[in-house]
Amino acid sequence: SGIDFEIIIIDDGSPDGTQEIAEQLEKIYGSDKILLRPRPRKLGLGTAYIHGMKHATGNFIVIMDADLSHHVSLYFTYCGKQKEGNFDIVSGTRYKGSGGVHGWDLRRKLISRGANFLTQVLLRPGASDLTGSFRLYRKEVLQKLMEKCVSKGYVFQMEMIVRARQLGYTIGEVPISFVDRVYGESKLGGNEIVSFLKGLLTLFATT
């Protein structure tokens, strides 16, 4: 494909054998392509980003979930989109164009659409999908945003986009398909909803 890449795997001590598989991949593809940077225990997403950035040698950083809910083949679409508009950030959207999901029941879809509608009304963010976590960032942009963002969880992803808009960075969008329940089931319970609302209101009042 002509794109120079490396894959940084950050595992927080998963008990399911992830680290052993990662080590085998490193042997197969070489440690210049597969970079293992494990951490002793579960330390959170924000610090994982910072940890990964320290070891990244490229000009762009793609962040994605490792449980195959994000389709790796879309990686080339992201690169193409970035070149097309020289964007600082390329964000995947499940809500526009050919974007969508698979494996969600009606309740989950309703909550997702409702939450996104509320977010659009309150924050007018200029991006159609704020809680997605499949994104491409210019390395300096990611570093700058990491300094400014303070939230955790879903809200962290939202804050990244909101701050990016404030700082004048350009954001391109790519429709993505989110395939849930390939391995295990991701649940959306009352706790997540409450913390999402709290985070949304905090961003509403502070940005």
């Binding site: 197969i28 389709h71 809500y95 999901v101 698979h102 659409r113 996104n116 009304v121 989110f178 940005t207």
Partner: protein, 100 residues
Amino acid sequence: LPSLPQATMTKLGQWLCGLALLGSAWAALALAPPGLQPPAPLRQALLPLPVYLLVAFGCYSLATVGYRLATFNDCEEAAAELQEHIRAARADLRRRGLRL
């Protein structure tokens, strides 16, 4: 010369400003003392306007979320393609020596 920090209003601040402006305009016209009141038909329409707008926004919200829910793409081909990729990747990695 030191540059001034850019003071941008928060979204909450924008909403409060907007509501204050519209609210005072509405109050000035609809709740004016006799003598300064606009003609009766205008006043009759103006008084319930905030409630009407709220209800209208509520209906718009329900319709929009309902529409978006109904048109939420279900990525069946993507899911099937993913399963194919997983099969191919497993076979390829096994050839290269990966032990699962």
